[in-house]
Each structure stands twice: as structure tokens, then as C-alpha cells.
């Protein structure tokens, strides 16, 4: 009966078109919303995820990576004192204003790291190296900031909160949650933008990464004025803050659900209309000896085909428009698991939408075929 399902499916061109438009739209909306959410959350936690540390020591009652408060930097010694710790490094996250060529200024996020260890350094460089910030007022800016800061050129000198910094490197694809351009510099230079003797984070690498939870507990007991997280825990804390406490997650979630519902409604309506239009044919099949299962196969095959074709076209459009999104400053995090999950959800949505038709066909009395 799959054969009949395919034949009938492609015969009804106008209905097929309507169904596919609905699913394409639904796929597009669902994937972009989830990919945008993942992109935004990826940006919010990007430095944590790309920093080679197992444990993060932060100020007390921190909400997320970007809203960290200063605490005494000499507390690093307490971390280093633990036998389980291989090394510990400090990281400063601060804010400043970069003067633009046109006379305006842009608020930027400053990341100060130790260029010798590279902990917290930019990980994807287009020009220069992460260690180039060592020994002076040097900075690395991400290429995605060009939209806000103008064209970046190695060697250019810009004023950052009244201090002149030379651009020695350009990174790629490193964005903050706040969308403020990120400026990387050495830890020593970042101190100029931060209270004296204070730091934002202490990052520890353990000799045995599997003991991260245990070491975090020990540090929590000894550093009562700080919070301590495992790397994964800090990512979770940051993501949950933006997702739950700001309502942002719910916004994305609702739009994605709305996309699915629109798709479900269109598919359900078209499959039902299609079933009703072909009810005589279903009755004929039943009279000729087809079982209900044979008819279910037709309906589910058509639902699956609608979902698959609509999904493939919708996904292709996502890829085609990805650059446009990126240029507009929107990060789409596209991954195989995301595509797989959306496909399964789309398929299930189409099957659920086909259920009304299944009920109709199940109760169909084949005697109807003798009633003209």
C-alpha cells in the first residue's frame, strides 16, 4: 500500500504544495528558534566551555558568567594549596568603552588572561596569536565585532576607556551573550580596568578531572566568601539564568512550539481533507479486501512523506539563510542532534495530525461504495 500512498501523494499537487509550505514554515521556525536559543546560550557560556579548567571560583551569589563581581585575587593561593590542583589561573572580566573612528564609542567586554598559560585566551584566531597580547597595551578583537566597531586591521590603535591599545590579533566567532564586542588582553592590562588586587575568576585544572565535584566541595568549605562550580556546573548556572530567570528560554520555547502547532494544524487539516476527498477510494479498498492496517499505512506514509520532504526543504532554507542570520549578528547553533530531534518531532507531529484521519478510516463502512 506504500505504492498507492506515494502515487496518490504526488497526484494531488496543489494540496501537496499547501502541506509542504506548512511543514517548511514549521521546520524553519522550529529549527531557527531552537538554533538561536542554543546559539545565544552557547555565546553566554562560550568562554567557560573553551577554557581548559575543571573548577571555577567566582564571587559569592553569582548569577552568570557576565555578571561576576570582583574578589581578592590572592585567594588563588588557597586553590593552589590543594594537592588535587594541577594549576590555577586568574581571569578578569570587565567592561570598558572603545572609541570609534567616527568619534562615537561602543561598550565592550574586556577579558584579561595570562598570555603565558593561555587560560581564558581566544581559541580561534584569524590573525596573530593569543600570546601576542603579552608585554604591552595590546588587544585582540573578534571579527564578528566589525559590524559594531568598523573594519579591524592589525596594527590599528584604539582608545579603550582613555587608554590606547594596539590591535595585535583578530579572533573569529567569539561572541558574548550581551552582544557587546569582546576585547582580549593580558591579565596585567585588564587590571587597569578593575579594582586593584581583585579578580573575577580563578580557574583550576585538576590532576584528575573526575574529582571536580569533590574538589569543588572542599573549596566551598574553605572559601566561604566565594562560590565554586565545576566547569559544567558553571555553564549550567549561566544557561539556566538566561533561560529561566529572564524568561528568554520561554520566549524561544513558545515560538518553537507555535511553529510546531502551525505545522501540525496544516498537516492535520490537509491530510484530513485529503482523506475525506478520497473516502470513496478508501471504501473501495476496504470492499476489495484491504484491512484497516493497509489504509493506515497509506495515511501514515503520506504523513511521513509530508514531514520528510517539508523538513528537508525547510532545513535547506535554514542553511541558505544561515549567513544572513550571522551577518545580522544572530548566532545559529546548528548540529546533527538538533536536526535529528526536530525531524523526529516533525514526524511525530505529522503522525499525530494524521490520527483524526485514521479514526475516520477505521470507522468507515465499506457498504458506502454501493451507495453511489
Amino acid at each position: 500500500m506504500y505504492w498507492l500512498a506515494v502515487k496518490t501523494f504526488f497526484h494531488e499537487r496543489s494540496r501537496l504544495f499547501t502541506t509542504l509550505v506548512g511543514i517548511i514554515f514549521s521546520t524553519l521556525l522550529t529549527i531557527t528558534q531552537i538554533a538561536m536559543y542554543l546559539g545565544v546560550m552557547g555565546n553566554a557560556s562560550t568562554i567557560i566551555r573553551h577554557t581548559d579548567g575543571d573548577v571555577w571560583v567566582t564571587s559569592r551569589n553569582i548569577q552568570n558568567f557576565d555578571f561576576a563581581n570582583p574578589f581578592p585575587e590572592d585567594r588563588i593561593n588557597r586553590v593552589r594549596a590543594l594537592a588535587e590542583v594541577d594549576w590555577a589561573q586568574r581571569l578578569i572580566i570587565s567592561w570598558g568603552f572603545l572609541k570609534l573612528e567616527n568619534g562615537g564609542q561602543e561598550q565592550v567586554q574586556i577579558v584579561g588572561y595570562n598570555p603565558d598559560s593561555g587560560v581564558g585566551a581566544p581559541w580561534s584566531m584569524v590573525s596573530g596569536a593569543a600570546s601576542d597580547v603579552k608585554g604591552g597595551r595590546y588587544m585582540i578583537i573578534d571579527k564578528t565585532s566589525e559590524q559594531r566597531l568598523g573594519t579591524l586591521a592589525i596594527g590599528q590603535v584604539s582608545e579603550l576607556s582613555s587608554l590606547r591599545f594596539k590591535l595585535v590579533g583578530i579572533s573569529e566567532g567569539i561572541k558574548s551573550f550581551t552582544t557587546a564586542p569582546i576585547i582580549f588582553m593580558s591579565y596585567n592590562q585588564a587590571r587597569l580596568f578593575y579594582p586593584q588586587g581583585q579578580t573575577t575568576f580563578i580557574i583550576a585544572k585538576l590532576k584528575d578531572a573526575s574529582k571536580a565535584e569533590e574538589v569543588s566541595r572542599i573549596l566551598r568549605d574553605t572559601m566561604k566568601d566565594n562560590d565554586v562550580y565545576t566547569s559544567a556546573g558553571f555553564v549550567y548556572k549561566t544557561v539556566m539564568y538566561w533561560t529561566v530567570q529572564t524568561g528568554m528560554g520561554m520566549g524561544f520555547f513558545l515560538t518553537a512550539i507555535l511553529g510546531l502547532m502551525i505545522g501540525a494544524a496544516i498537516v492535520g487539516q490537509t491530510i484530513y481533507a485529503n482523506t475525506m476527498e478520497h473516502i470513496q477510494e478508501f471504501g473501495t479498498l476496504k470492499a476489495m479486501g484491504a484491512r484497516n492496517l493497509d489504509l493506515y499505512k497509506i495515511i501514515f506514509t503520506q504523513a511521513a512523506m509530508s514531514a520528510s520532504i517539508g523538513y528537508v526543504v525547510g532545513t535547506a532554507i535554514v542553511f541558505l539563510t544561515k549567513n544572513g542570520f550571522e551577518k545580522a549578528g544572530v548566532t545559529l547553533y546548528l548540529s546533527v542532534p538538533l536536526f535529528a530531534v526536530v525531524f523526529v518531532v516533525m514526524l511525530l507531529t505529522c503522525f499525530a495530525s494524521a490520527y483524526i484521519s485514521i479514526r475516520k478510516v477505521r470507522s468507515l463502512d465499506p457498504v458506502m461504495v454501493f451507495r453511489g
Binding site: L4, A287, G289, V369, F370, G372
Partner: protein
Amino acid sequence: MEKIVQIQDVTKVYEEGKNRVVAVDSVSLEVKKGEVLLVMGPSGSGKTTLLSMIGCILHPTSGDVKVDGTSVAAMKERELPDIRKRYFGFVFQSFNLFPSLTAAENVEVVLRLKGWDRARLKKDSVGLLGRVGLERRAGFYPRDLSGGEKQRVAFARAMAGDPPIILADEPTANLDSKTGKEVLGLLKEFSQTAGKAVVIISHDPKAEAMAHRTVFLEDGRLKQ
């Protein structure tokens, strides 16, 4: 001639709320192989209900239908499709062809339902169309066929899989006189050459001339 269908004191009652309609009332009938049986009667006389029960589409309220000696009354609802598939070919008043399928594919549907050998599907469906003179129309869609051609495709479809019984519901109702005669001729030829049983429901007087036997139904009861 050997009996292929036996209808034994069959009654069908439709109940809707307080209304009770006896559509078929204590009908007994036999259909033999190689026989063309015509069932005539006014509208509402129970012809369609009787045909539905012969074709194992409807269960009788009482009585029994035996197909090739097998009692249908004792069967469960889910067993009936297999009986229909194995024993019956159907010709409908409105042809009931699938508009999205070509003439050959319309025949192929039944062969597929019957689990026909895939390698033979195309050849056999075109062959069946050849038997009704439509081999050259095999690739045509129903919309491109005349009424007579559609009914001949429907007849080829009914023959698909070589069922021993053909049930035809008003097969000439939507056809002109000449074409109707041709279709009836095909049904009779099929019955005689292949030794099949053909049950026709019709108002058409031409059908009476073609049939081996005619029974009249009135108010659900048989009038010999």
C-alpha cells in the same frame, strides 16, 4: 453446477433509536459457478444490502452466508477482508477507479492487495486490460477514459487475481445503452468462459436478457 455462495434464511435489520428497519427478510438463495444471477427490485427493496451480505461486507442479523462452503456468520469482523480478497471481484455503479492511478495501476491495486508476485504485476494488469480490449489504454488516467472504458477497467480490476465470484452493482447505470450492453456481454462471457459466478444488481432490462436466472426483491423479501 457447483454452488459457490449459499444464502440461508438471511435477515438484516437496521436499528436506529426506536426505528427498526428490516432491509432483508429471510432470504435464501444460491449462486452457482458459471452462472449469471440478476437481482432486480425497486429502490429500497434491499438489493444493496443483500449484495453487501453476499460480498461479506455486511454481517447478517440472522441466517448465514456460506462462501465455497465456509460459513461467514461464524467469522469475526477482522476475518472478512481476507474472504473478500480471495473470493470476490467488485464492479461498482460509479466505477470507483482511483483517479491518481492509470488504468493498469487501477488493476494492479487489487493484485497488490492479493500479494501478487511483484515481477508479474505490470504484465498481468496489462493482460487483464487486454481481455476487456483496453490494452492500449493501459497508461491512461480515468479522466481520459470514456464511461464505458472506465467500467471495463473496473471489470478488469474485478477479474484481477482470478476471483470465483464477481459482484456487480448497477454496472450499466452510468453508461449509454450500447456500452451497457457491451459491459453486460463481458460479464456473461467471463462467467461462461472462466466458469465464474456473477451476481448483478440492476434495473436494466437488457441485463435480464443476459442473466441465466433473475430474482426479484421487494420490501426485503424474495419474489420468485
